[in-house]
Symmetry: C2
Subunit: 449 residues, 2 copies
C-alpha cells in the first residue's frame, strides 16, 4: 500500500468539498482553502444560480461518500419538460420512457453545506475559509495562501494541489502565467446571452404554482425562460436573453418603462405568478455565461484543475456540477491506479477527462439551441418520438443523447461519438435512397423518351 499524500484543494464549493471527502476516504491528508466565508456559519452567498439539476453522474459521486440518501430527501424530481407556448398552452414531454429516470432540482447552498459537513467529519480533512490560495509554485508544489493577520502570505508544500476554484479560477490564472514556455493554451468565451433570475413563490397553501415534477420552458427563440422547482414550493425562473440589442434583451429591459408589461408580453402565463417581478427584474444581476477551455488540465509535477476551473460550460444541459463530480471520481481513480504517483495520475487524468470536458461543453451549447428553438418545432418533436420508439424497440442500442448524458455515466466523449455515428448512418441511408430514386427516374426517362 502506497503512502498517503498531502493534498491541497483550492475552493470549497461543490467539487472541492466533495473531493475532500473522496480523497480522505483513501487516507490522504486533505487541506481545503476557500476565499469565501464558511456558509455553515454565514449562510450561503454564491455568485451562481440557486438551484441545480442533479442527475446520475452527480448521484454516483454522492453515493460514494454516503450522502445520496440524505440529499435525495430534499430534491424535487423532474420527469420531463413542460413547454409553455405564447398563448399560455402547455404540453408535457417526458425525458425518458423509464418513469424512474428523472433529473433532480436541488438547492446549491444546501448541497454545499451538506458536502462541507461530510468533509469535516473526516479527521484528515482541514477546512480553511476566508483564506484563498493566491499563488502556486508549480515546480515545487508550494502554494501561497493569504495570511489572516495581513502579514506576508504563508507558503505550504503539498504533494498534490487541485484547483476546484471555479470558472474564474485563481489557480488556472497562475498556470496561464507560469512559466511562459509551458505553452498553456487557454480560452474564455462569453456567449451573447446572459441570465437573470426571477421568482415564482409558493401558493398561499404552500404548494407549487406550476406542476413541480417538470422543468418548465418558455421557448421563444433568442429569449428563453426556464423554471426549476424548489422544495419550499417556489420556482426559480431564469431568463436567458441577449445582453444587448434592439429586440428582447437585458439592455432593452433596463430601458423599459413598464418591466411587467415588457416581460408579460413574452411569457403571459408566468408574470401573474410573480408578485415580486418588478423588483426582481430591476435588482437581480445580469450574469454572463462563460465557457472555459484549457489545452491540458495539469501543470508541472503536482497541480491539476477540475470542474468549472478546467472546463466551465453553459448551463443548458444541467451538467456543470454533474461533470465536476465525475471529474472528482475519475481523479481519485487515477490516483488509485497509479499508486499515488501524482505526476502520472494528473497527466492521465487530464488526458482522459479533457476530451470529456470538450464534449459536454459542445453538448451544452447544442442543447441551448434545442431548448430555445427546437423543442417547440414539430420536426424536432417528431424526431424525438422516432428516437424514443427505436429506444423502446432496442433499449440498449438506441439511447437518446439526453438520456445518455443525464441517466448514465457514459463518458461524454463517447456520447458525442455515438451521436456523430448515428447522424452519419442517417446521412448514408438518405444518400442511398436518393441515389436509388435518381436511378429509377433515369430508368423511366430512358424507357419513355
Amino acid at each position: 500500500m502506497s503512502q498517503p499524500l498531502d493534498i491541497g484543494i483550492a475552493g470549497a464549493g461543490l467539487a472541492g468539498s466533495l473531493l475532500a471527502s473522496l480523497l480522505a476516504q483513501d487516507g490522504h491528508r486533505v487541506t481545503v482553502f476557500e476565499r469565501r466565508e464558511d456558509p455553515r456559519r454565514s449562510g450561503f452567498i454564491g455568485g451562481r444560480s440557486i438551484n441545480l439539476a442533479l442527475s446520475t453522474r452527480g448521484l454516483e459521486a454522492l453515493t460514494a461518500i454516503g450522502l445520496q440518501e440524505k440529499i435525495m430527501k430534499d430534491v424535487v424530481p423532474m420527469r420531463g419538460r413542460i413547454m409553455h407556448d405564447p398563448d399560455g398552452r402547455t404540453s408535457f414531454h417526458p425525458y425518458s420512457v423509464a418513469p424512474s429516470d428523472a433529473i433532480n432540482s436541488v438547492s446549491r447552498g444546501e448541497l454545499n453545506i451538506e458536502l462541507l459537513k461530510a468533509a469535516d467529519e473526516h479527521e484528515n480533512v482541514t477546512l480553511h475559509f476566508e483564506k484563498p490560495i493566491v499563488d502556486v509554485d508549480f515546480a515545487s508544489g508550494f502554494i501561497k495562501v493569504e495570511s489572516t493577520e495581513g502579514n506576508e502570505p504563508e507558503s505550504i508544500k503539498f504533494d498534490l494541489i487541485v484547483g476546484a476554484d471555479g470558472a474564474y479560477s485563481t489557480m488556472r490564472n497562475a498556470m496561464q502565467c507560469y512559466p511562459q514556455r509551458a505553452g498553456f493554451g487557454f480560452s474564455q468565451t462569453f456567449i451573447s446571452h446572459s441570465y437573470k433570475e426571477l421568482v415564482i413563490p409558493p401558493l398561499s397553501d404552500g404548494s407549487h404554482a406550476l406542476d413541480p415534477n417538470a422543468l418548465h420552458i418558455w421557448p421563444r427563440g433568442a429569449s428563453m425562460m426556464i423554471a426549476l422547482p424548489n422544495a419550499d414550493g417556489s420556482f426559480t425562473c431564469t431568463l436567458f436573453w441577449p445582453r444587448e440589442g434592439q429586440g428582447t434583451s437585458f439592455e432593452s429591459l433596463a430601458a423599459a418603462d413598464d418591466v411587467t408589461a415588457y416581460i408579460g408580453q413574452i411569457y403571459p402565463d408566468a408574470v401573474n405568478l410573480m408578485p415580486t417581478l418588478e423588483e426582481d427584474a430591476r435588482n437581480n444581476p445580469v450574469s454572463p455565461l462563460v465557457m472555459i477551455s484549457c489545452d491540458h488540465w495539469y501543470c508541472g509535477e503536482h497541480s491539476v484543475l477540475l470542474g468549472d476551473a478546467a472546463h466551465a460550460i453553459v448551463p443548458f444541459f444541467g451538467q456543470g456540477m454533474n461533470s465536476a463530480f465525475q471529474d472528482c471520481m475519475v481523479l481519485r481513480e487515477h490516483l488509485r491506479t497509479h499508486d499515488n504517483n501524482v505526476r502520472r495520475a494528473i497527466v492521465t487524468f487530464s488526458e482522459q477527462q479533457k476530451p470529456n470536458g470538450d464534449a459536454i461543453s459542445k453538448l451544452s451549447l447544442d442543447n441551448f439551441l434545442i431548448m430555445r428553438d427546437r423543442v417547440s418545432s414539430r420536426w424536432f418533436r417528431l424526431s424525438q418520438h422516432v428516437e424514443k420508439w427505436l429506444h423502446r424497440l432496442m433499449p440498449s442500442r438506441v439511447q437518446p443523447v439526453y438520456n445518455l448524458v443525464s441517466f448514465t455515466t457514459t463518458p461524454y466523449q463517447e456520447i458525442v461519438k455515438r451521436q456523430a455515428r448515428r447522424r452519419q448512418s442517417i446521412k448514408s441511408l438518405l444518400a442511398v435512397l436518393i441515389s436509388l430514386a435518381a436511378l429509377v427516374i433515369a430508368f423511366f426517362i430512358g424507357t419513355f423518351t
Copy 2:
C-alpha cells in the same frame, strides 16, 4: 484645442517607446513603466528574437517621429527570398516587381534603444525602468506600480492607460480578471511549432557568408529554417520545428548524440557556415509561438491594449512590430479625431483595429504554410508568376497579398477581404467554365444519341 492628457504606458518595448514619442508630440504628459532594466544602460536583454523585418507600416511610424533616416542607415534590405533546396541549390524569388520594394532586417535591441532615446528627448515623457505596473483599477484609471523601496505599491491616476506590455501582458491579465461580468473573451493559442536561434557568423573578411539582400529559407515541410542578415555581417538563423514528436523535433534534437549531424542532414549547405552550431543548438532556448486574441481591446473608461498585448501573432509574415506600430498611429489618430475624449477614442480604436489584428493573425498563420511548404512547390511559384504578371499589367488593380501587407499601409482587414474576393472570382469563373463544358457535352450527347 482640447486639454492634453495624463497618459500611462505599460511597457517600454518597441510599441511603448514609439507611442510615448507620438503622444508627446501632441502635448500629452506621458509616463512609461517598464519591468526590465534600461537597455541604454544595461545592454538589450530581450526574451524575443534579435532581428526583425521592418516594412512600410513600421517605416511610416518611424517617419512620424523623425527617426526613419537614422534607422534605415543600419538596416539590411531584403529584396526577395532565397530558397535552399536539400541538395544545396538556391533560387532567388523577388518580393516585388518594383526593385525599391524591400523589407529591412533591423536589430530589435538597437531599434528599441533609438526609440527610447527619441522618447526621452521630449520633456513631457518620463521613463521608469524596473518599475512594472502590477494592477489597474479600470473604473477609476488608477494604476499600481511596484515601489522601488519594496514598500506598498504606489497608486497613480491617469486619463489614459495603454497596455503595450507584450504577449504576456500584465495589463491584459488584469482585464481578464476584472470585473468578471464584463465578458472579456480571450484566448491564447500555442502552435505546435516552437523556435530556436542559431548563428552564421561573418566571413574572415567581415562580409556575409550568404547573399545579404535576401531572406533565406530552407523549406522542409514541418521543419523549416530561415536566416535574416545582420548589419555586422552575420546571419541569425531560426529553426521552426515541432516541439515534440518522432520526426524532426526539438525533442528529438535534444536526444540526438550528434547535433551537427542531425541538423546537417536537413540543411547540408548551412551547417558548414555555423562554427558554434553545437553549443548554440544545445544552449539556446526553445521558445514557444503564441497567438493572442481578445474580444475587445479596451476596458472601462481609461484603458486600452495594443500590439502583442492585444493580438500577438506568429512571426511568419514579419508583421508583429509593423502592426504594433500601425496600432500606435491609429490610436493617436482616434485621440485627435475625438478631441481627447478617451472613452470614445479607445472604443472606436478597438472597433477599428481588432478586425485588423484578427486579419494579420490569420495572414501570418497562412504564411507559415506558404513558407514551409508552398514556396517550394511549382504550382505555388506558377501562381505567383501569374499574379506578378497580372500585377505588371494592372499594377493598382492586382497587387499580391504579400505586397499589400509589406509595401502598403492598407488595413489588413481590407487585404483579407480582397483576397477572399479574388478567390471567389476564380471559383466563379471555374464554375462557369465547368457549366459550359457540361452544356457542350450534353449537347453532343443529345445530338448523337
